[in-house]
Symmetry: C3
């Protein structure tokens, strides 16, 4: 393995903190650690992870729990809609400086942008950002990459589309950045109202080609990867506009007739009707595999940051 | 031990899925595993159980947690009144297919009948039904049988009464079915409004004798086991009717004067005033022991399903 | 180590249950166990702690979780604002007699005074009081003493002030009692409305000297330890009175100019503005260290009560 990287005690605030080589290395560790997701390990025996979830995110929370348990560690903290009231009246700086005394690593989910970086500055233990405002969700991007790599054997050279809400979804922001470190063709497919913001687009275009579409059918036949995100009703000023968009940016068997045989369809879940259930049983569907890959990728990160896997 | 049974990766949806021989085997394993409930074990080291509780059931939830911990495994998931909102907008089929990626076994509690069977069909990991609608609570029936067996040394030949709400209580449905696999005399004691439904009664009567009573005093002197359940005020159209019933179907020291010395009184808990606290200190009271037996019985099931105890 | 003390299976209901020699011994064990708070241990492998929190106290709950995990044990239970509704309709006596069947030790937080003693009487497993009404929080007092001992090398001979709400805060009641077992000079600094109750004061004065002040500046220069507590707005009949008090009983750099160089400032947290954030970076600030010392002290208690450390 490459000897240039040191993840010991490192904060994971943004996917922008990683070089392509570092991401490749994490995915390599994930692959090597995958058998332990089945049988478990004692790598992190005696270590405690604190989950500080100021907004609910059940899947991410459970995923980190399993990652820690499968490595022999333990987890404190809890998430519930009212969790923020539990810490009410206390600054995030104080909460972090207390919780780090109970734990070896903190996983933070917070509605405010910048919160994860702020927490990382105060904490003496490493902090992993599990979603901060609309900006970042770096471990989701890593698991998305790992899913693509497992299904396709490579990332370079792929033709990839991100479809749905590209404006507000933090998942696609982190993923688009991560993909821009690879030699991929990236397509953005969204309704006008939900186009990716210009500043994000420009940043990505400084590294790779990006084309925007309003209709998935135009490019579907060439795609290797179709990444679908949820479009929320609340984003639209009137319901009629939403209903129109909803039908257009959805994936079903009829649409997939024009797809390559080895296209893979991803979705961060939960889904509403962006992907018809009839797709679930097809080989296209990799969205449930993403959940398992999330455990594996987070196991790799935890083992690296807490020093159980040393890069030497 | 008997070699006919294979519980590896088996779903536990309904007590109706078990033969008498299988139940006997589980109770035998429970007995052999009981010392580990005290000192713990590494049998399920590295295994993760997911608790998916769509309605609160603190006792059942804690009982499964302890069962898993005492075998060296871990538990993810949580229950709170608002838990269903956490998964809101996602189908049960999707939730199950995500959560199974985080876990080796799922324990499901859900307000809808049929939900556990539905989940088991979608999940690739085994699913244990911890209560689905009003129909089933199979692990409660197993722990009830184990409690009777421990106290009496046998189940065959006993004279047993189920008293209280026999119409809506899922506990008594599962238990009555399980008891009907044994050679017991079964008595049903309930107010008219809360009689066991005819279709359930008929099924049980196809195997054993069942007599119905409206007054426990008629049969108390002959009983070996008295199983009491809670009668909920909400079941009655008027409060006067409830108040009358409430006094009649309650157990206290005065009533127990006519009981055999070795009668045992059971209750799934929580109780309100169906059993007077003055009974707690008597040898009749086995309802708190049921809680401990629940841990032991669930340990046996988990060890069998996850392959830590192999039947060979 | 001293051979006179036996903590096996002992209930920790009140700090009043300890002799000075016993407290010294616990602090000694805490010191010896401190390295395990870093690297973990298998001392309590197979043991299960139940957290019964009938009112939220996130810090105390997380602290006990980490203490148990670092010793290799596990934790069941959960706390949320609605937790009491989960047990609604069940008496505390019943809840305790059920939960003890799932666990080897119970940690109880309850809004009613006397609740911990009541629970300890019913439970066959040991019960630790993690806060009962306004009266007691014995493990907080122990961690406060441990923090003083670590920072000062001794407790005897120190000049200590308790400042803020001395009337309603259970923390200061337990701590004041514990300190009165040592040869310290104790100063009480509070607004008139929040003076320590006479019966508590009299009890403490039967052992050591206590002086009351309304102004911290009078004694600050002589202090070795300043223990600050939160003053809650709700305690005051009018807001103007509160605002005046709020400024007077707060600690900032200006005030600390007259302090000894080695004064330590403690606070049970969370703080509002009783301690200015500018104090955080000074050597005076030991309030975040208290959080870590809470884990260590609770590890010592759990190891002693559950027999992993034997005094022989």
């Amino acid at each position: 393995m490459n000897t240039k990287f040191n993840f010991l005690n490192r904060d994971i605030v943004s996917i922008r903190g990683f070089s392509r080589e570092e991401i490749d290395y994490i995915l390599e560790v994930a692959k090597s650690i995958e058998p332990l997701a089945e049988k478990g390990s004692d790598m992190l025996r005696g270590k405690v992870l604190a989950e500080l979830f100021f907004e609910p995110s059940t899947r991410t929370m459970l995923s980190f729990q399993t990652a820690m348990y499968k490595l022999g560690g333990n987890v404190i903290g809890f998430a519930e809609p009212g969790v923020s009231s539990v810490w009410k009246g206390e600054t995030l700086a104080d909460t972090v400086r207390v919780v780090e005394k109970y734990s070896d690593i903190i996983v933070l989910r917070h509605p405010l942008e910048g919160s994860a970086r702020f927490a990382a500055e105060y904490a003496q233990v490493p902090v992993i950002n599990a979603g901060s405002g609309a900006e970042e969700h770096p471990t989701q991007a890593l698991l998305d990459l790992y899913t693509i790599l497992k299904a396709k054997g490579k990332i370079d050279g792929l033709n990839i589309a991100l479809m749905g809400d590209l404006r507000y979804g933090r998942t696609v922001h982190s993923l688009a950045y991560a993909l821009s470190l690879y030699n991929v063709k990236l397509n953005m497919v969204s309704p006008d109202l939900l186009r990716m913001r210009n500043e994000v687009l420009q940043d990505i275009r400084s590294r790779i080609d990006v084309t925007e579409y309003r209709d998935i059918e135009e490019i579907l036949p060439e795609l290797d990867v179709l990444y679908v995100t949820r479009i929320q009703k609340e984003r639209f000023p009137d319901l009629g506009e939403y209903e129109k968009v909803r039908g257009t940016f959805a994936v079903n068997l009829k649409l997939l007739k024009s797809a390559k045989d080895d296209l893979i369809v991803l979705h961060p879940l939960p889904r509403l009707d962006e992907i018809a259930v009839e797709v679930d049983a097809t080989p296209f569907a990799k969205y449930f595999e993403q959940a398992r890959n999330g455990v594996v990728t987070r196991m790799a990160l935890l083992a690296l940051i807490l020093g159980a896997i040393k890069n030497e």
